[in-house]
Symmetry: C2
Subunit: 343 residues, 2 copies
């Protein structure tokens, strides 16, 4: 395979035009039997996949969609990507995944890469809220939909999200009902809508329950395991330590749990931890992480279905869907036993 074959090579080999190749591969009528046979023989000789080529010739579609994720090693992205990949196959679509490594400067390049690959549409699972590119593409009628994230210009974007503010309120209210007052919050930066909304929910739940906001209990930065582990460790070693943590992703809640173990703190007797996302491992009896479910299966199926409807021009309405979150109580949260020490 010195040079890779394309429709032009097939046309040349068969001695016909590219449009004839297209007509044969699409089973159109009005093609002479001998011509059809010559084209199919050429396809065969060149080791070609007629359906791929036929598609792109016929309707200018690649039947490929792009999926932009923040970090595929975060199980939330990996597990939803897997659902999207599996279901896309049922729609006869392929998926190109781009991982921005949570580096916003690579976002525009990710979009360029996907458009350069001529994808029919894009699902954006991670993007900063001040991004302008998505609404630009939307205005150009390019099929694009946000998933798990929104951008500020939300009059000009399609999205499927969970109600993140409400979910965060549910998490914090659950801790408050267990008599926790000093509730640490671990999150990525508010430049992402998901973290911004969860932070609003955290603040709002505190306020509604008459608990003062204490910024010393709040981490809002890069969600690296090492940094969150260290922050949690330091906080837990404090005399007046928090009795509970709300981690805005399950993945990073595991770093908080590890810090608790390192500190010899028993979960939930000494410290309660709640996450967000309901990644698979959260339900393991060894982890047993209380969390907020994003209904990831429903959300992933829905975003794919809606994107394909947009591509197929079956929908020309703005798609803006907000799903209800769900509180899942497991063994990582329990009644605050140190209430006297901490007030």
């Amino acid at each position: 395979m010195k040079e890779r074959v394309n429709a032009y090579d097939v046309a040349k080999r068969a001695g016909v035009s590219q449009s004839t190749v297209s007509r044969v591969l699409n089973n159109y009528s009005h093609v002479k039997k001998s011509t059809r046979e010559r084209v199919l023989a050429a396809v065969d000789e060149l080791g070609f996949t007629p359906d791929e080529i036929a598609r792109s010739l016929a309707n200018n579609k690649t039947r490929t969609i792009g999926l932009i994720v923040g970090n595929i090693s975060n199980p939330f992205y990996a597990e939803t990507a897997h659902i999207i990949l599996r279901e896309a196959r049922d729609y006869d679509y392929d998926v190109i995944i781009v991982d921005t490594d949570s580096d916003e400067s690579s976002f525009d390049r990710s979009i360029q890469t996907l458009i350069g690959k001529r994808v029919d549409g894009i699902i954006v699972a991670s993007v900063r809220k001040d991004n302008k590119k998505i609404s630009e593409l939307f205005k150009l009628n390019f099929p694009i939909i946000c998933y798990n994230r929104k951008v500020d210009d939300d009059r000009n974007t399609n999205f499927v999200v969970v109600d993140n503010k409400q979910g965060a309120k549910m998490a914090v209210n659950h801790l408050i009902q267990l008599n926790h007052q000093r509730i640490a919050y671990i999150s990525g930066p508010c430049t992402y809508s998901t973290f911004n909304d969860r932070f609003l929910g955290y603040q709002s739940a505190l306020k509604e329950n008459g608990i003062d906001y204490d910024k010393r209990l709040v981490y809002q930065n890069e969600l690296s395991f090492d940094k969150v582990f260290q922050f949690s460790l330091d906080l837990m070693r404090n005399q007046n330590r928090p009795t509970s943590f709300f981690a805005s992703t399950d993945h990073i809640a595991l770093a908080v749990m590890d810090a608790a173990a390192q500190n010899g703190l028993h979960i939930p007797y000494d410290i309660s931890i709640i996450g967000f996302d309901n990644i698979d491992i959260a339900s393991s009896p060894y982890i047993g992480l209380s969390t907020i479910s994003q209904q990831k299966k429903k959300m992933a199926s829905l975003v794919l279905k809606e994107l394909i409807a947009i591509i197929d021009k079956k929908s020309d309405q703005l798609i803006q869907i907000t799903l209800e979150p769900e509180l899942l109580i497991r063994k990582s949260t329990g009644m605050n036993t140190q209430i006297r020490n901490n007030r």
Copy 2:
């Protein structure tokens, strides 16, 4: 963006040939200043990314590689994919991930998809050992390299793997040294080299230690959580139950751990469990899974580096690298306390 732009559109808009567009975008000399300006204006007007197009025009390269994984929701794949994605960016390459959902019938389609997208090379992280397509592509000088897997026709394939047989022997020998004799084995089917080699290592370690092979203790089938959970549960409820499990992936070892918890068995006092892969969560103090490290960071970096050397024609030798596995002892394995009951 009713129609997406390409180099042809730029040429048309600028009133020049496609090769002139190519020459301008590659900064070749012998292009009139006014022509250059016209082309760049057209590029700008059409909202084009010159570098992408320039590349593909100039050297027929897309600077994109394909990565075929078995199931991206398995953290082994997700974590190695993340390393490959991050390091590929340093080489100025993009990566298209295809997830076969461990469905071999979709493997050929995955290859077709990637070649249809004109990738410069492919990393194959999951494929059955009897696959013929990989050596066919290799013989056609298409840059392709196996990672974590080998195929039977290994004279005609590049690969980077860990010594899976040796790794499995290390795992089983570790259990035997802890006085375990009844050692269950949980694995995917032997149609994959990785599982085949690990099974050979399991059998070999038993034999060298004079322990009879008991096929009732062996699961070799689809690695679905539910099926492995049920198999393990049934085995653990058996009167003459195994005192230890060797799970051929860490991901599925978690299903065995869950079955132990469901059965009220304490790890490692009642039952020892060892995995393979060293996924991130294995080192969590709550999981503490003993395992065999594949040196995934080194392996992932190496496979990418070697593939790019092949693409750049800096290497025309067969790449066949086998890394040494490493035994990591954590809290999930301990001395067999039931030795009398089980002999």
